[in-house]
Every structure is written in C-alpha cells, then in structure tokens.
C-alpha cells in the first residue's frame, strides 16, 4: 500500500466534489460586510436566531461530515506512513488507531445527523484543507497539525453545534455533538501529550511543530470564520480547549490568529470587490 498519499488521491465516489482552500479564498463574495457602511447584518454567529439558521446548520453539518472522513484518513495514514519504533512510537500509533476508530464512528453519526437535518451526501463542496494538514512527513508535525490544530477546530465546531442544538431544542443534535466533543477533547489531549513526549529532548523539533500548528491554526480560521468577533460564525471554546491541554496563552494566540485572519479576509474582499466594480 502506498505511503504518504497526496490530497489529490483521496478516494471519493461521484457524489463528492472537492475544492481546495485556494478555491474557497478566491471567492470575492462575503457573508460579512467588508465596509462599515453596509446595511447587511453584522453578526454571523451560528445561532437559531439567524433567519437562515437551518440552512447554515445543515451546511456546517456537512462540513463536519467530510471533516470526519478526512480526520479518519489522517489518523489512519499516520498509523501506516511511519515505521513503528524508529519513526513513531508504538503507543502513538496505537492512539492514532483508536482515533481512527472514533472518527469512523463520527462519520456514521454525522451521516445520520445529515439525514435528520435534510441534506444529502455530497450536497456541498468538500474542502480538502483538513487532510492537507495531515500530509507532513514528520509524525510530530502531524500531531501538531491534525491532533492539535484540526481537532482543536473540531472542539470549536462541536461546541457551536451542541449549543445550536440546545437553543433550538433539537435533542439529537445536542446529544450527538456532546458525545463527539468528548472524543475530540481526548484526541487533542493525545496530540498534546505525544508532542511533548516525542520532542522531550529535541526543543528545535518541538519549536518547528508548534510553528507548523500556528500556520495550520490560521488556515483553519478559514479567513476569519472562527474568532472572538461576532462577525465569525464560530467562537473559540476555551473551556474545552483547556481540558484538552491547551494553555491560556495558546488559546489567546489562536484567538489573535482568528481576528487577524478575519481582518485580512475583509481587506481581501474589499480589494476584490473594488476590482470587480472597475
């Protein structure tokens, strides 16, 4: 079986249509006004109070579904891509195998939630950015990119969806998201613990891994869709992140990255919209 599979070779049937982060960022449209004088709504938080709440929740649920598939593929690849003992400790691979099992269950749960909310498999484009973070040749960078950045994002997303279910009175959504959230906290914790352990005597490698995580965290802020600002649809679930091993400083750093990504995206949108008008 091939090792280090590139993102272009992910196996999908004809129901799926994949797009890259570059495709997504080249879209000059914006849900949030780029100019202060715009009359469009200023809050983009995913709550039932939004008129388009059901549509937005459905689209996010599909994003979770494809994200779970990619997380399963990422954890599974880490078990396979590295030699046991020499490149990755057996215990780390065992944890990745356990994570793959969890993610497979999450895929099934998300599929059922998609049915419940009224969407079809492949109804929305699949952004492959999550798997791209799982393509590093260094297992420590994978832990930083997948377990800490990707699964950290999952904590933020599941917290938002759980709260949405709670506010809307949707018992299935709230229950399922709560259970998956518990797993994600465990996955982040595994990443935090292994990152510390494997780089115990190699501060340079740890520094490189944390820098990589910072890059991936910014990518996962999706042009500002996750930040403390109400203009972002997702907030930062600090409490659950702390349970997963993120320090307060790390959480603040992610919050800053989110705001930075939001401002950059707004500037980019202003530029593109001005260019389109001329």
């Amino acid at each position: 079986m091939k090792k280090f599979m590139p993102v272009e070779e992910l196996a999908r049937d004809e129901r799926f249509n994949q797009i890259t982060q570059a495709d997504r960022m080249s879209d000059a449209r914006s849900a949030v006004p780029a100019n202060a004088e715009s009359t469009r709504r200023s809050s983009n938080r995913l709550t039932p109070a939004r008129a388009d709440a059901s549509d937005a929740a459905r689209a996010l649920m599909h994003g979770i579904f494809v994200g779970e598939i990619q997380a399963l593929e990422g954890a599974g690849r880490t078990c396979w891509d590295f030699t046991t003992g020499e490149e990755a400790p057996f215990g780390l691979k065992l944890d990745m195998a356990r994570q793959a099992w969890d993610e497979a269950r999450h895929v099934e749960i998300s599929l059922k939630l998609g049915d419940w909310m009224g969407s079809d498999v492949g109804q929305y484009a699949e952004n492959t950015v999550l798997f791209q973070a799982a393509c590093s040749n260094d297992p420590v960078l994978r832990l930083a990119g997948v377990n800490r950045a990707l699964e950290g994002l999952a904590i933020d997303v599941f917290t938002s969806m759980k709260e949405f279910g709670e506010m809307a009175g949707d018992p299935y959504l709230e229950f399922c998201e709560d259970w998956m959230l518990a797993d994600e906290v465990t996955h982040v914790k595994m990443g935090s613990d292994w990152l510390r352990k494997v780089t115990e005597n190699d501060p340079e490698r740890r520094k490189k891994a944390l820098e990589f995580q910072s890059i991936v965290d910014k990518m996962f802020s999706y042009g500002g869709s996750r930040s403390d600002s109400d203009e972002s649809s997702l907030g930062i679930a600090r409490r659950f992140r702390e349970l997963a091993g993120f320090t307060s400083d790390e959480n603040e750093h992610i919050a800053d990255l989110g705001l930075q990504a939001l401002e950059e995206r707004k500037a980019q949108i202003r530029e593109k919209q001005a260019a389109a008008k001329n």
Partner: protein, 183 residues
C-alpha cells in the same frame, strides 16, 4: 408581462441572466403570473441565500442574494434547480399576497421566524406538487427549529405541507397554536 434581470453580466459568480429570465418566465407561466411585471435583482456580492420579495399591483420585485441560485457542490456556479426553487418560492409568496388570502400578512421583514417557517412550508408543499424537487426533510427540520421538536409540531407541518388554500389568518393561527403546544 415583462421580466428583467440585473445585473446583465456577473463578475463575482458564473451566472447567466438570460437563463435566470427563462426560468423565471417558465415558473411565472406555471403560477399564472402572466399579467404582472417581474423584476429580479441579484446581489452577487453575498454568498448567503436570503431572498427579499416586494409586491405592488403592477410589479413583483425579487432580490435574491447569490447563494440562493448557487450550486452548493460547485461554488459560484449557477444551479438550475436552486434558481427554479428561488423563483417559485418568491413568486408563490407574491401570488399569496396579491390574490391568495395573504393581503393582511405583515411585511417579510416583520414576520416572526415561526411565521416565516410556516409560510415557507405552505409554499414548499405546493412547489412539490408542481413536480419541482424539494427536500421535504430539510423543510421539516426548519419547521421543527421554529415550532419545536415534537409530534404536535410534526402533525401541523404535515397539515400545512399538504394544504392548497390557506389564508394568512389560518396559517398564522396554526403557527401560534403549535408554539403554544410546544411550550
């Protein structure tokens, strides 16, 4: 009947204004709206799905954000089904206001979320019977989000979905009663 679509050419999305006009024309004929002008102004700077509809005796004005006409699998590309659904939803809403017993309904901006969901259910149920593909489960999910996740709410959803001739007073009373049952 005259149908106009703006902008004529799109910069942010790959939409075709003539195609939108053709679809709008077909839907208007199906709904018997051939005696009134229709103006469609797409806001292509937003990917959201909201559609504003305003009606006077001589003009139906439809203002969709571009997400309402978009293929969700292929961002920025136009979807024939989404465009058809957007036109049918907007025109049925307008027809209800003009001649369907909804003359005393509040403005769209003044509708509560449950009222809007109930009216949308009534519209989508009728669109299904026009042989246009509608995801009933998605409509049910929206209705439940606004009226509660329980059997009473589901029962009212079915009643509205299958209805052909509700008035605004009947529909709004059903929505209000369902909220009371769910409380």
């Amino acid at each position: 009947m005259a149908i106009t679509v703006t902008p004529e050419t799109f910069s942010f999305v790959s939409f075709d204004s003539a195609y939108i006009a053709r679809i709008a024309n077909l839907v208007a004929e199906q709904l018997g709206l051939t005696d009134i002008d229709i103006e469609i102004a797409v806001d292509e700077t937003s990917p959201l799905t909201r559609i504003d509809v305003e009606v006077t005796d001589s003009l139906i004005s439809i203002r969709p954000l571009s997400g309402a006409l978009e293929d969700t699998r292929r961002p920025r590309q136009q979807s024939e089904l989404a465009t058809t659904l957007a036109m049918a939803r907007s025109m049925l809403r307008a027809r209800d206001r003009l001649r369907g017993g909804f003359e005393n309904a509040p403005l769209d901006t003044e509708l509560s979320l449950p009222q809007a969901a109930a009216w949308d259910t009534y519209i989508l149920g009728r669109i299904t019977r026009m042989s246009i593909e509608v995801k009933k489960q998605a409509a049910l999910y929206n209705f439940r989000n606004r009226h509660g996740f329980n059997d009473a709410s589901d029962h009212v959803f079915e009643k509205i979905w299958n209805a052909e001739t509700f008035t605004w007073d009947e529909l709004s009373a059903l929505s209000a009663n369902t909220l009371t049952l769910s409380a």
